[in-house]
């Protein structure tokens, strides 16, 4: 079947199988930031934005995304640049495999709630698993970014 959607701002039409998952579709179109993790919809590694909403691309049919806007980290570099350095400065990750999912969901968090508390950050990122760290580094990084932003204001 043929689908048409917008991937990172670019209109795209492609021939897919009915059971093609969105994760496989975006990776087939060069978006390798989207990682395959648990495949049980628990880890958040495959997070993409569907019409601006963070979803698990391992559990969305590509066919269901037809007619919609899909964004991956490849299309959100500029927005991510604001805070990823703060996360890196904290040495928040070791292997980095979970990083794109964390960054995607942090972008969604900050769009929805530009000034979250630590508990709100923890709650929003609860669906992003990291097997190397204890999550405190990511939290410290986001907190440092938010505090720095407040200082600039």
């Amino acid at each position: 079947m043929e689908i048409k959607l917008t991937l990172n701002g670019k209109p795209l039409s492609a021939e897919i199988e009915a059971d093609t998952l969105l994760i496989d579709f975006v990776r087939a179109h060069g978006c390798y930031s989207v990682k395959r993790g648990c495949e049980t919809a628990n880890c958040g590694l495959c997070t993409v934005l569907l019409d601006g909403t963070p979803v698990l691309s391992c559990s969305v049919l590509a066919a269901r995304a037809a007619g919609h806007h899909v964004q991956t980290l490849e299309g959100l570099q500029e927005e991510a640049e604001d805070f990823v350095g703060f996360i890196a400065d904290q040495g928040a990750e070791q292997c980095g495999f979970c990083n794109p999912g964390f960054v995607m969901n942090t972008i969604a968090l900050l769009r929805e709630n530009p000034d979250p508390t630590d508990d709100e950050i923890r709650a929003y990122l609860a669906g992003n698993l990291c097997r190397c760290s204890g999550y405190e580094g990511q939290l410290r990084g986001i907190r440092a970014y938010l505090d720095g932003r407040k200082g600039e204001a």
Binding site: M1, E17, A18, D19, L21, D24, R36, E39, T40, A41, N42, G44, T47, T53, P54, V55, L56, C58, S59, V60, L61, A63, R64, N105, A108, L109, A123, Y124, L125, A126, G127, N128
Partner: protein, 267 residues
């Protein structure tokens, strides 16, 4: 790449009649959020998607909220009307379910249609005295729907939550954050009557009334404890990898007592 679910054909239904006709065939499936479905080893003939039917909206009338079957759990979590109607119980019931991305995918219809034993959603909506509307069978109490055979082939169109004045408290116990619950409890007080729903027993949620009138004279430490022990003695509880039946019974006593005391505090 692991691939255990196969779908031969994908159809975005353009009407409920079309979806209903398609779903009469045994190996055709109506899609919800696909989170549970995706993990099954299964060959699906036609996947029927309801996403074009406008079922992703919450409509408020004078007497009820009408929630389309495709409304994601996250929308319920953030809905101000439900926050007020349930005194925060709606958010409490869904906020532990995996993560924001998961709850953006999971639909109310899919959560209720599955009648999952572990369902936080079924537990709360039973306490809210919700009704469902099926395309073919029409409107019925959620409790009646929950008892329908799983072989029922119909389309869950919407869920109706009456705006009855009352109070509700939702509590759950999990072994670890974002895991399935070991036990869920929703306690509602409405029109002077109490409805206690126990879920994740691990069987699907069951509804209990205060048959002995233990809370009739008001909620105190003693009446809350007596009520909790009564519910725990009446609820059929089982064991699974998350907890034994005995453990659930002890948890049941604690959660029901806490729910009753919280209800009294809120009132």
């Amino acid at each position: 790449m692991r691939k255990v679910l196969s779908i031969n054909q994908y159809v975005r239904a353009q009407s409920l009649d079309e979806a209903y006709t398609l779903c009469q065939k045994k190996n055709n499936v109506v899609l919800g959020g696909m989170l549970w479905l995706k993990m099954q080893k299964r060959n699906i003939g036609t996947a029927i998607d309801l996403c074009d039917l406008g079922l992703d909206k919450i409509e408020e009338t004078e007497t009820a909220y009408r929630i389309g079957a495709m409304v994601p759990l996250r929308a319920l979590e953030l809905h101000e009307g439900f926050a007020k109607l349930t005194q925060g119980a709606m958010e409490e019931a869904v906020r532990h379910i995996v993560g924001v991305q998961f709850r953006n995918c999971a639909t109310l219809g899919g959560s209720l249609w599955g009648r999952f034993g572990f369902s936080d959603v079924l537990t709360l909506f039973l306490a809210l005295d919700a009704r469902v509307r099926l395309h073919h069978a029409g409107e019925m109490a959620l409790a009646d729907f929950a008892a329908l055979p799983r072989t029922t082939r119909d389309i869950l169109v919407e869920v109706i939550v009456p705006k009855t004045a009352g109070r509700v408290v939702y509590l759950s116990q999990r072994n670890i954050s974002t895991d399935f619950p070991v036990l869920t409890v929703a306690l509602a007080a409405r029109d002077g009557a109490y409805t206690c729903v126990i879920g994740a027993r691990p069987m699907p949620a069951a509804v209990f009334a205060d048959e002995k009138g233990l809370l009739a004279q008001g909620i105190t430490e003693d009446s809350a404890r007596a009520f909790a022990e009564d519910i725990a003695s009446r609820a059929a509880l089982g064991g699974n990898m998350r907890g034994s039946a005995d453990y659930r019974r002890e948890i049941c006593k604690v959660l029901v007592r806490r729910a009753a005391l919280a209800l009294a505090k809120e009132g």
